[in-house]
Assembly symmetry: C2
Homo-oligomer: 423 residues x 2
Amino acid sequence: MNLPDVRTRSLRRGSNLPHVADFNASVVLGAVRRAPEGIARTEISEQTGLTVQTVSNITRRLLSEGLLIEGGRVTGSPGKPRTLLRINAPGRFAIGMHVDPAVLTYVLLNLDGTIIAKSRVRNPSDISHEELVEVSSSEVESLISSSGIERRRITGLGIASPGPIDTRLGIVVDPPHLKGWKRVHLRQDLQEATGLPVILDKDVTAAAVAERWAGAAAESADFLFLYLGTGLGMGMVINDIVVRGSSGNAGDIGHIITGQGTTVCTCGQRGCHGQAECVGVICSPVTLVSQAIERGIMAPSPSLPAGEALTRFPELCDLASRGSAEAKAILDHAALRLGESLSQVCNLMDPELVVVGGPAWTPAADHYLPRLRQSVQSQSVAGDIHQLRLVGTSIGDDVAAVGAGCLVLDSIYSARPDSLMVS
Amino acid sequence: MNLPDVRTRSLRRGSNLPHVADFNASVVLGAVRRAPEGIARTEISEQTGLTVQTVSNITRRLLSEGLLIEGGRVTGSPGKPRTLLRINAPGRFAIGMHVDPAVLTYVLLNLDGTIIAKSRVRNPSDISHEELVEVSSSEVESLISSSGIERRRITGLGIASPGPIDTRLGIVVDPPHLKGWKRVHLRQDLQEATGLPVILDKDVTAAAVAERWAGAAAESADFLFLYLGTGLGMGMVINDIVVRGSSGNAGDIGHIITGQGTTVCTCGQRGCHGQAECVGVICSPVTLVSQAIERGIMAPSPSLPAGEALTRFPELCDLASRGSAEAKAILDHAALRLGESLSQVCNLMDPELVVVGGPAWTPAADHYLPRLRQSVQSQSVAGDIHQLRLVGTSIGDDVAAVGAGCLVLDSIYSARPDSLMVS
C-alpha cells in the first residue's frame, strides 16, 4: 500500500465523479476537524456549500469507516434538535519520526494529531544509514506494541528530514549536519523495514503541516512557519496548499542576507554601518552560544557541535531572563536580524499569519516574540490592507515529529486540489 | 457581468458535477493552447486522463462556442487519420492596461495572447485618478473601434498596477511612485466607465500570468518571474497556481537585503567586507544611472525621476556593450546583487524556471543573463536534484500590459482548483 504522492501535480489532468466524491468527503472531514466542539450536518452544509443530502451521505460513510462519531445534541433555535458530529480521534493513528542531527524523535498520533506515545534516541551525527533504519524500525515497533493499537489502524509513517531531499525518489540528499549521508533511500528502506506506508518530507514543511492539522494555523489558508532548531527554515501554506516547490525543497531561508548598510531605502530600515551575513549563521544556536562563551558569560567548550549548542542555548536565554545585559544584547541582535529576514519573506509571500516554533524557539520565545512581531508588522508592505499576526507554536518542541505524523494524515484525509484529478 | 474572483479560495468548499464539467473544459482548452501545432482528441485524452468520449463532448462544446477550430489531419501511425484541433485565436479578445509611473500602455490581445493593437500614453506622475479613468476609457474605446472587433467578443479589461493593492476591493492602495494615489477604486471606476468586466492585479503577477499564457513558461508549473522596471518585483506560479498571497500583494522583493559581510557561511558566498542595502534601491535604474552620472560617463541631469532614469538606462547598457569599463562595472555590480537576491528567493520557492523581463530587462539582458544564470545555478540548494533554468521573457517590454489582458483570459479559461468548488 502506498500513500498519495505529496508532490502536488499541475492542473493539467481532468476530473471525474468518483474523485469528486472523495474530495467532498475530505472537505466534510475537514469541517468536522476544525470544530472540536462538534458540528451539525446543517452547519457542514452551510460551510461547504454541499447539499444537506450530500453531507448526510458522506457522514454516513465516514461514520461507518470509523472516522467520525456522533455525540451530543443541540436544541434551542427553531427546528428539531441536531446531532453533533466529531472526529473519532482513536479511529486512526499515524507515526511521525524526526531526523534531527542531534536527536531522533518518534511520536504516535491519533487522528486529531494528539501525541499518544513518544520516544527519543540520541542521534550520533556519525550514525550510518543502516543503523538509523534498524533503530527506527525497532522504535516504531515498540511504539505500536506498547500502545496496544491494532496495526490496521496505523495509517503510515512520516519522516521529517533536514533538506535537501528528493521527494520524487524519497531520498535524503546531503544534509549539512548529517555527515556522510549522501542520497540515502530512507523512504524505501523504512517502508521495507516496517511494512508501513512511508512518506518523506522536509522537517520545516512537516512542521507547517502540523500547525494546520493540529496547531495554531488550523483556521488559516495562508501562513508561514518559521522553524528554529539547529538551523532555521520555513514551511509555507498558501491558498490552503502546502508549498513544496518543484523538488520538495522549498523553504530554505538560511542564506537570506541580513545586515545594515549605508543607503537609506524607502522602507527606512537601513541607516547605520554594518555588515551583512547569512541569517542561518548569524542566528543559529552555535553562533549565539559561541558569542556568549567569547563574552565570558557561559562556560567555554572545547568544541561546539550544532547539537550541543542547541542543548546549551536555553542557558543563554535563561541568563537573559535573569537580567544579563550581555545575554540580552546577543538575543536582541539575533531577534533583529531574524525579524528583518522574516519580514522579507512575508513581503514576498503576503501571509496572514506567521507561526514560530522548533526546539530553539521554546527557550527564546519570551525574548523573541515581541521583537519578531514588531519587525514583521512594522515592515509589512501590505500592512495597510490586512493585519499580519505572529504567534508561537502551540505544539511544542516536537512540532517536526508531530508534523511527520500529520504528513501521513494530511496526505490521506485533507482536501487537496490534485485529489480531484484523475491520475 | 463579472469576471471570476482572482483570489484563490481555500479548499473548504465541496464540488459537484457542473463544476467538474467546467473544470474539464478548461483542462482540455489548456491542452490545446499548449499545442500550437494542433492536437488530436486522442492525444488530449492521453494528456488529461479524460476518456476520448468526454474529450469529444467537450471539444464539441468548445468548437460551437468558437474557442477551438478544426484544421489539418494527421495520418501515419496505425489507425484512421486524426483531425487536429487548434485554438481559435480571433474567437475571443481581452484588453490589458499597465499603469506604470512613467507610461500607460494599452493592448488588445486575441485568445492566444498575441497583441492585435497597442497604444501608449505618457503618464505624468501627478495624473489624478479621474484623469486616468477618462484617458483609459477613451483609449480602450479607440482600441476596440479601430480594430473592428465585435464588442461581445471582448472578454474584459485587465489592469496591471504597482502595489500595494487590495484585490478584494479592487483598490490601488498607495504605490510609491504614484504621488497622491491613496485607495483609488480603479476596478469599479473603469468597470463603470467602459462597461467591461474589469480585473485588477499587481503588475508583477500580471507579468507572470503573461508568461504562462503566452510566453516562456507555458510548459512550467513552478516558475518565478523577475520583473525589472522602475522598481523590481516577483510574480510566482507554484503547482500551476498563481501565488497572490492573502491580500494579492505577494511578490514584493524590493527590500531584500543584499551585500557582503565578513562571516563566511556554509554557502561560501560571503567573504569580503561590504555593505548591505535593499536590492530594490541598489539595482534600480535611478541608482545605476546616477552612478554613471557621478562617474562622468553619462551627462548630468538636474533631477532624475524614476521614469526618466528608466528612459536613460539603455544608454548605460549601450556604453557597457561598447566597451566602457565603468559602465560594465556598474552593471556587473548590479547583476551580482540581483543574482544574490534572486538566489535567496529561488532557495525559498524551489522553482524549476525563472523568467526575467520588464522594460529595464531588455537593454540589460545581454549583460545580466549569463551573470544571473550563474548566480542562481551556483547558489541553488536543490542544484543536485534538479536543474534550475533562467531565461529572458519572449514577450518583450510590454509583458505587464500583455499580462493584464492575460489576467482576464486566465481567470475565465485556465484550470484553477477553486473553479471546481461550489461558490
